[in-house]
């Protein structure tokens, strides 16, 4: 009874007004939410979309002063050129320039170097991760810190001495040199990332295996390695993407026509200056280059957080 009187004390208009206000502000909030989301979505998707669209345009359409969003004549010629063209004359305001393309060769280089260096980094990383996770190692934290600090180094600081070292050892523009370098690149990441996963595998698994008579090493590769397959897969994807995207070492340590990878080649194809760039071809090469990364990103979407923070943030 007392409660019903308190309801009556509030005049009937006020709750109605408040309700209306609340639902109105909720509706406004809903509209704002979708508007903000749409704006963000447009901002983050448009550049990629625009490149994708450009990859279907002819040179003239792509380089036009008033580029068309719709109403051009789509062509697949650029994609054909990415794989089969080796040389091209591009003319523009600055005269005609001959550019050497031959992307197919660079794509093969990228795939070879990327996959082998990832594989090596995974094997070594798995071993080290297990070692750090399960054994008492003298100075373990210092070693782990040392490995982590490699991620922080500015690549440019190591580039100069590595260039000199490679020149002395005749490793410049060799597959072995690039694979060794990229393995070193990915090792710190692989160790930290895999260690994070191995730490989560209960000790009891190996203890049980060792009670059953397995040696330490047997319990490692028969129990822990199979348990870590998803961790290894996620680590492999991130390592592959890192190598795939790496630019500055490839620029300095490889040569066009040699073991050069894709990123410096795309940059070179777009380096023609005043109008002498076949943007359709550049866009198509960029799309072929970016596609595997997008697919891989989608595959590891549940591990993204871990991957981009060096295994530091887990969920």
């Amino acid at each position: 009874m007392a409660q019903s009187t308190t309801v009556e004390i509030d005049t009937p208009e006020r709750p109605a007004f408040e309700d209306r206000l609340r639902s109105a502000s909720r509706a406004a909030g809903g509209v704002l939410f979708w508007v903000a989301l749409a704006a963000a979505f447009l901002f983050f998707l448009f550049p990629t979309f625009w490149m994708l669209e450009t990859s279907f345009k002819t040179v003239n359409e792509a380089n036009s002063q008033t580029p068309a969003l719709v109403g051009f004549h789509p062509t697949l010629a650029n994609y054909h050129n990415v794989f089969f063209l080796t040389q091209e004359n591009v003319s523009g305001e600055g005269g005609t320039t001959t550019i050497t393309t031959g992307f197919l060769h660079y794509f093969i280089n990228s795939i070879l170097i990327g996959s082998i260096s990832t594989l090596v980094a995974l094997v070594l990383g798995m071993l080290a991760a297990y070692g750090f996770s399960r054994f008492r190692v003298a100075g373990k934290n210092d070693l782990l810190f040392f490995i982590l600090s490699q991620r922080m180094l500015p690549p440019i600081a190591v580039l100069i001495p590595i260039f000199l070292m490679y020149r002395t050892l005749h490793l410049v523009d060799t597959y072995f040199g690039m694979i060794l370098l990229y393995t070193t690149f990915n090792l710190p990441f692989a160790v930290w990332m895999i260690k994070g996963f191995v730490d989560e595998i209960p000790h009891e698994y190996e203890d049980a295996a060792m009670v059953d008579g397995y040696t330490r090493f047997q319990s490692f590769y028969k129990v822990i390695v199979p348990q870590s397959v998803s961790a290894l897969a996620a680590t492999a994807v991130f390592s592959l993407i890192t190598v795939w995207n790496e630019f500055i070492f490839a620029l300095v340590l490889t040569e066009p026509g040699g073991v050069r990878t894709v990123p410096p080649s795309i940059a070179a194809a777009a380096g023609g200056g005043q109008g002498n760039i076949d943007w359709g071809l550049v866009a198509a090469a960029a799309m072929v280059f970016v596609l595997p990364v997008v697919i891989f990103t989608f595959l590891v979407r549940n591990h993204l957080l871990r991957g981009v923070t060096f295994g530091a943030v887990r969920r």
Binding site: G125, A157, I266, V308
Partner: protein, 323 residues
């Protein structure tokens, strides 16, 4: 031997004393290859370049300025560091200006990424239809190659046809002048925009993870207490997400200082006084071949980054302890 485990049917493991290796030896066997490779390819070069930073070594060979004959390089003490920090250079009027330009790029880019990324995370932490797909699509920029991202944005500003990329066409609708990325200030703005495009998703990812991890009952309790939205944000959301955001901030700051690829493909047509410090090192090392001098500059950057990395790791340990 092995008779006890025969009933498991699998391969027959050896029972009894471990053959040969102690755990300590085994541990080193596991870790040794990694440490060896890192020492050879990462640490040895660093020590070498520290040595070079005290010499007048020129990668193409030192020559006598008068006779033009090859001469051995010499130990010059802290000469490189002194000229770097005080004197002028062929390409760069003042190294302090390049430091300032780098700082402007880093602070603006990371600041905007932080605010925008966290704001978007507040939007995207809600449940709505299509959320997973939208989130994944919005995260893709950070996985792309920076050098390709630079090209995307160069193409949108100036494909080489006199600033008539699609973005400049839009800008020309509201302003008389396009953003000419061959000029210093517009180039810096363009680099910041491209960096924001590429790395806001990183902040967004970490922000969403942090927000999603906040227990609901805290908000429910605040609701019971009729706490205002601002109070809830200030006293529940922010303190709980902060350790994660700090990690994101420091990661981004360290990486932004190293900015090179994106600048190379987007704005290397801009005047030299726009170059961020990594590009200055590249220019000195591989265009002027002034190896000693560029090694010295690389070391200065290294020290700055290590200092930041230390702060990062200290906070990381704290954040992990709180987890």
């Amino acid at each position: 031997m092995g008779s006890e485990s025969a009933e498991h049917g699998g391969p027959m493991p050896v029972r009894g004393p471990r053959p040969g290796l102690t755990d300590r030896q085994l541990a080193w066997l596991f870790i040794f290859p990694t440490v060896l490779i890192l020492l050879a390819i990462a640490i040895f070069p660093l020590i070498w370049s520290l040595g070079l930073s005290f010499t007048n070594y020129v990668a193409t060979g030192n020559v006598d300025p008068v006779s033009g004959n090859p001469v051995p390089y010499q130990w010059v003490g802290i000469h490189n560091y002194r000229t770097l920090l005080t004197n002028n250079d062929v390409t760069y009027a003042s190294i302090w200006h390049q430091f300032t330009v780098t700082a402007v790029m880093v602070i603006c880019a990371v600041g905007i990424e932080f605010v925008l990324g966290f704001g978007l995370a507040m939007l995207l932490v809600r449940q709505f239809p299509g959320r997973g797909l939208i989130l994944t699509l919005m995260l893709t920029p950070m996985m792309l190659a920076p050098v390709v991202v630079g090209l995307f944005w160069r193409f949108m500003f100036d494909p080489g046809n006199g600033d008539h990329g699609i973005l400049n066409n839009l800008i020309l609708l509201v302003s008389a002048r396009p953003l000419d990325i061959a000029q210093s200030t517009p180039a810096i703005i363009a680099v910041i925009i491209a960096d924001v495009w590429m790395w806001t998703p990183f902040m967004l990812l970490i922000g969403v993870a942090g927000l999603a991890a906040i227990p609901r009952y805290l908000y429910e309790a605040a609701q019971v207490d009729r706490a205002s939205a601002w109070f809830r944000f200030r006293h529940i959301t922010l303190p709980l997400v902060w350790p994660l955001l700090l990690i994101a901030l420091l990661f981004r700051t360290i990486d932004a200082i190293k900015l090179f690829d994106l600048y190379f493909s987007l704005a290397s047509g801009a005047p030299a006084n726009t170059n961020p410090i990594s590009y200055v090192i590249y220019n000195k090392a591989f265009e002027q071949y002034d190896t000693g001098n560029s090694s010295a500059l690389a070391y200065i950057i290294l020290v700055i980054v290590i200092a930041l990395a230390n702060i990062y790791i200290r906070n990381l340990t704290k954040a992990q302890a709180a987890h």
